[in-house]
């Protein structure tokens, strides 16, 4: 018997958004492969296209794929609706999670677990499971009764995203700046939540971040640098250390038109 691989493959992905001046190309040929159990970090300056990439993977209707492909274990992800992608095992922790007034967290979590698992989880074990996951993220049980993200602080929203990841057990999790807006304690707790999912080895993680501080808690095997809609450099964890020191200047100056040699940062691509 062979173990399921769970591989997300992104090939030459081109993505545009509709603007008042017409379509604008944001991703200009992205290639990326994430396998189950691997952790990849994508780093890059503001506006380089990191969120665009994550939304495109999740299927946000605002982003139009104009070229290239995304597959999960060979299945055409781009042909799936947003909900079908989630059921196929793709999870996106959003940079700015949305408030849904009046829909309680508990109702929401159960509806999504039912959809993703294909059957309603047994109530008793489910309640225990949710409670344990909330405890691990140091979330007050009272959150279960609140509206989804309604009035949550930035840090609470991020914990809620990771709570969902823990419960939905995706094959591929895209975490879009889950670390931003977190104070030191919250960063430790949220990182612990991500690490717990990662340690199970069943999820491939694509960690999008602007800063290196979360990488002190979660060690990626692969680091990719994105600038102007392309992956312009790739390497191992040491690349993150270089970025910490020198920032993104040289990539931004290059405008992503030509990829700086990753070898300079000791990259293995």
């Amino acid at each position: 018997m062979t173990a399921a691989v769970s591989t997300l493959e992104i090939r030459n992905l081109h993505v545009s958004v509709e603007t008042e001046e017409g379509p604008r190309e944001i991703l200009r040929g992205v290639d990326l492969t994430v396998r189950k159990g691997e952790t990849h970090a994508i780093m890059g300056p503001n506006g380089s296209g990191k969120s665009t990439l994550s939304y495109s993977i999740a299927g946000h209707p605002k982003y139009t794929v104009t070229g290239g492909s995304i597959t999960l274990d060979g299945e055409d992800v781009l042909a799936m609706g947003v909900d079908a992608r989630a059921r196929a095992g793709i999870f996106l922790a959003m940079q700015y999670p949305v408030e849904i007034p009046g829909v309680s967290v508990s109702n929401f979590l159960r509806s999504s677990a039912t959809a993703v698992r294909g059957e309603a989880p047994k109530l008793r074990t489910w309640v225990k499971e949710v409670k344990a996951s909330m405890e691990a993220l140091e979330m007050d049980p009272a959150f279960a009764e609140r509206g989804v993200n309604e009035g949550f602080s930035g840090g609470e929203k991020k914990r809620h995203e990771i709570l969902q990841m823990a419960l939905l057990k995706p094959k591929i999790a895209v975490l879009d700046e889950t670390d931003s807006g977190l104070d030191v304690d919250a960063l430790r707790i949220v990182s612990g939540g991500i690490e717990a999912v990662r340690a199970k080895g069943e999820t491939g993680i694509l960690l999008i971040t602007h800063y290196t501080r979360i990488l002190r808690y979660i060690k990626p095997e692969f680091v990719h640098v994105m600038a102007a809609g392309r992956i312009v450099d790739e390497g191992g964890p040491e690349l993150a250390a270089v970025l910490e020191d020198s920032g993104y200047d040289r990539y931004v100056k290059a405008g992503g038109a030509t990829a700086p040699a990753g070898a300079g940062a000791g990259a293995v691509s």
Partner: protein, 405 residues
């Protein structure tokens, strides 16, 4: 194409709340042409002649079930309790008072604490005929009195079909507390025009819910007056306006004595071609109404193209010494980002929409303490959206955790 009117439209600059003529004589009220402020949104032809006060040729039966101690009587037309709270402000209300031939009165004695709700079931027994003739005309009058320091829940349940002009007078005694639900769950062909007048005693509390789901045309005119300081009126409303339906709620809260509070919260969802909702929220704070605290809100969710929501809040303040006065009105479509968020968690689009609508109404509906009524409203809304109600494990979770907040 979607027409969304009055999205966040500011109130009339000077905030002049209209003062309609009040009289029991129908002929004192002019015949509307449709250009009057009070009638400009109403499709007059669909009133099926109610403006002319035709003889009744239909029937709305009234059945009251009430806990022991509650008096249910039939008042004759000359009874002084008729007209104590309501003086009609338009022709239809005046005709209804003149033609109802008395009233059904429900009296909750002083200091009674009712454990069970009083249910007043009004059933229209005059459906549109097979030949397509309009539902028969019927008039009605209800008079509800809550004695001093009593607490009670009264549910008015309108079902069936008729062309119905019905008034409701609610007299809340000093220190009393009333939860009042008026549910308009008419069959498709019904027309319902009603004046609902509430008089709030000193330190009394009214919590009302006006829930309009059915009918071809429903036009309700809730008004609140206070007889002494410390009165508190919460006017909640929910409507679901489907293709072709006209649902109009025109509220007027008049703060005359000092230190009274009012909260108006109406939420509507509209769907389908020519679905039309109208919400008018007039609040008048008179010169002696110091320490008034008022806020009114109308939010509408337009679910499809072709529906139209008119929303006009209007606040007139004649004293500077108030605690607070405000209003908000917003009409919007589905929040695409919310739908995306839910779907990105595996929830299919139709269920995502149902969750969002459920959540939109929950703020108001969850306040209704009468479980059967609350469940029926949610089930009706869910049914209209073509889905089954959500499996909600909220209570199980709350029960399992230490925090029940």
């Amino acid at each position: 194409m979607v027409v969304i009117d009055a999205t966040g439209r500011p109130p009339m600059a000077s905030g002049a709340v209209p003062r309609p003529l009040r009289s029991r004589n129908p002929l004192d009220h002019g015949v509307p042409t449709g250009r009057e402020e009070a009638w400009r949104f109403t499709p007059l032809r669909r009133l099926r002649g109610l403006l002319a006060g035709p003889d009744a040729d239909g029937k709305v039966s009234v059945t009251v079930s009430a806990p022991a101690g509650v008096a249910v009587e039939q008042l004759d037309a000359a009874d002084p309790r008729i007209g104590r709270v309501l003086t009609p402000a338009d022709r239809v209300a005046a005709f209804a008072m003149a033609r109802a031939g008395g009233a059904t009165a429900v009296t909750i004695p002083a200091e009674a604490a009712l454990a069970e709700p009083v249910i007043v079931h009004l059933h229209g027994e005059s459906p549109r005929t097979a030949a397509g003739a309009a539902a028969g005309v019927a008039y009605g009058h209800l008079s509800i009195e809550v004695g001093p320091f009593a607490s009670a829940t009264v549910v008015l349940d309108h079902t069936g079909s008729a062309t119905y002009a019905g008034n409701v007078e609610v007299y809340v005694g000093h220190g009393a507390s009333l939860t009042f639900v008026s549910l308009q769950d008419w069959d498709a062909g019904a027309v319902h025009v009603g004046a609902h007048a509430y008089s709030i005693g000193r330190d009394a509390k009214l919590r009302s819910f006006t829930v309009t789901l059915g009918g071809d045309l429903v036009r309700l005119n809730p008004t609140v007056e206070y007889r002494g300081p410390g009165g508190d009126a919460e006017l909640n409303g929910v409507f679901f306006t489907d293709a072709g339906q006209h649902q109009e709620h025109r509220l007027l809260v008049t703060h005359t004595p000092r230190s009274c509070r009012s909260r108006v919260t109406y939420k509507g969802a509209l769907r389908g071609d020519a679905a039309h909702s109208v919400w008018i929220g007039d609040v008048l704070i008179e010169a002696d109404a110091l320490d008034t605290d008022t806020y009114e809100l109308n939010r509408n969710l337009v679910l499809t193209d072709g529906a139209r929501a008119d929303s006009v809040p209007n606040l007139e303040i004649l004293t500077g010494e108030i605690v607070g006065a405000g209003h908000a009105s917003a009409t919007g479509r589905f929040d695409d980002e919310a739908l995306f968020y839910l779907q990105s968690r595996g929830i299919p689009p139709a269920e995502a929409r149902r969750l969002v609508v459920h959540g939109f109404f929950a703020e108001v509906i969850d306040r209704i303490q009468v479980v059967e009524v609350r469940d029926r409203i949610m089930a009706t809304v869910a049914g209209r959206l073509g889905e089954t109600p959500a499996d909600d494990s909220a209570e199980a979770l709350a029960g399992a955790g230490p925090a029940g907040a």
